[in-house]
Symmetry: C2
Subunit: 324 residues, 2 copies
């Protein structure tokens, strides 16, 4: 299980490379939520999402001989970019397996960061695991999993170290911390960091309606999977089930999950643009949506929400802004 | 003339209140510009523009007895919000004279920050100076000018102190610093700060086509005014002429002005959204536009561009993003 020492070591490896993202606020958001709301602006991280933290952590912790042969990742786009940039900065090849229907911006940026993108047909039932295994064996690549990987969880946890420090600077020691949650890498990392550094904080994962595997797993005490469609508006955080490494961490440290609608996520995106001047993608806006629209199920006191990614296609973003 | 000591004093008064905004970059922007490009993200300042720096500086430097009676400002919206928030934080009234055709978001936010908004009819030829003088005399308000005011210039100069520090952290001591320029408050403040702290940097003001009073004033060595329309896409930086205080500072410290088209500003807005995840308003994007599209007139080496504001109406913003 990823420990605080692993997160501290990841922070050391990322010093001067991983950005310390700001903790922002707006009086207008406080007013809507009826409480103080702080936003951890991970959209400002390199590659536009927190995923660079985990990508850098994993690659910087690898044996150099292995790393030199290159890395492989499966991703709909944010982990892809995080691994691609970390590989480029290490001067090693990266191959990313992406679904053919991933957002265009994510595909373009992953390629622009120098990675080789290999598509698989999600709807047609192609197994990314099989394609990935073949590529890995052929080329001697090392797989960097998106969340169920100790060094990735440790990297995402560095976001939690920063939250603890920045909240303390703002005079906040007790708060509800809302995380945008897919497979649970960010949530588990932050929860591990805060359990050590800010024990007055309770982490609660937030998911989109229809993809609430983490909320249901936490409620039932065991890993349960989504059985519906595999695609949705919040592409970045749509996963089948929490990981075998992330789930026990979340079960130990987190409060109950929260589920928001796509309409709430879109509204949160509009508020982030208006009040914070930040471009946030649908999956990156669910925690803010929970802060703004689900206050009734939150403990009293301030909320800290991650804005976990901002990689949204311009056309979709324009459409969502215009819906206001 | 505003001196470095005034800027240092303004920085002291703003400590823990004015945000230290990040200096960001993106490999994709570097590639377009063909050089390293750093962005000073003033859209992340309180109220969504650098104007809070000057507003806070002015109000915090006022005699308390005067301040208690309240302040008055003329503004199309960003100075309005900066003064409104500074007044609210001091617990004193603010009256803002705004043109009736100012962007709706700017009007709404100024009101939401507790200021009383009084409109004047710009097209109908109403004199904001006369209306303002009457209000000032009636209520004993103190006018906080948008740029030609030493404490305002000193406040904007704190942005320059941060640029010098952050550039040094990034290993940059010589650079072209591009500023979004209206009346010259930000430009004069930054130029004063950098002349002291980073003498290897050259500040160059950037304006939109048709409103290039500063570029022409710098070229001719005396203040010249725009004679065309008073409204345009880049509302935040449309001014008739540089100020009597700001112009001599710019003439002393700045290189030649640069003029960009509205189309270039809009393209820069799209790139800021895609590559930096920042919402930038048209007038706040002209410096980035110069970095991306006017490299031929810039000295070799890195560029630092201010993203000076992000208060753009959602409908206009959506339209500009969709034009891509």
């Amino acid at each position: 299980m990823t420990a605080i020492a692993d997160i501290e070591a990841a922070a050391q490896r990322g010093k001067g490379i991983v950005r310390r993202t700001p903790l922002l606020s707006s009086p207008f958001l406080d007013e809507i939520a009826g409480r103080r709301v702080f936003l951890k602006a991970e959209v400002l991280q390199h590659t536009g999402s927190f995923k660079f933290r985990g990508g850098w952590s994993a690659l910087s912790a690898m044996e150099p001989e292995l790393r030199t042969r290159g890395v492989l990742a499966f991703s709909s786009g944010n982990h892809a970019q995080g691994v691609a940039l970390a590989a480029r900065m290490h001067g090693v090849p990266a191959v990313i397996l992406m679904p053919g229907d991933a957002p265009a911006l994510k595909i373009d940026n992953t390629r622009a960061l120098g990675a080789e993108v290999v598509f698989y047909d999600r709807a047609g039932g192609e197994s990314r695991e099989e394609i990935g295994a073949a590529l890995r064996d052929e080329r001697g690549l090392t797989l960097v999993k998106p969340f169920d990987e100790p060094m990735v969880i440790a990297g995402q946890g560095t976001c939690g170290l920063e939250i603890a420090e920045q909240a303390a600077e703002a005079g906040v020691s007790a708060a509800t911390v809302l995380t945008c949650c897919g497979g649970g890498g960010l949530t588990a990392g932050i929860a591990t960091a805060l359990a050590d550094r800010a024990p007055g904080m309770v982490v609660r994962p937030v998911e989109p309606e229809g993809f609430d595997d983490v909320a249901r797993s936490l409620a039932s005490g065991e890993i349960v999977a989504n059985t519906g469609p595999e695609v949705g508006l919040c592409d970045a955080i749509i996963t089948r089930a929490p990981g075998h490494m992330t789930f026990p961490i979340m079960a130990t440290h987190c409060g109950p999950g929260i589920v928001v609608t796509d309409a709430e996520a879109k509204s949160a995106m509009r508020h982030a643009a208006n009040c914070l001047k930040l471009v946030v993608e649908p999956g990156g806006a669910v925690a803010l949506a929970a802060a703004l629209y689900h206050g009734a199920v939150l403990a009293d006191g301030p909320v800290i929400a991650t804005l976990s990614g901002g990689n949204v296609d311009a056309a979709l973003y324009a459409q969502i802004l215009a819906e206001a």
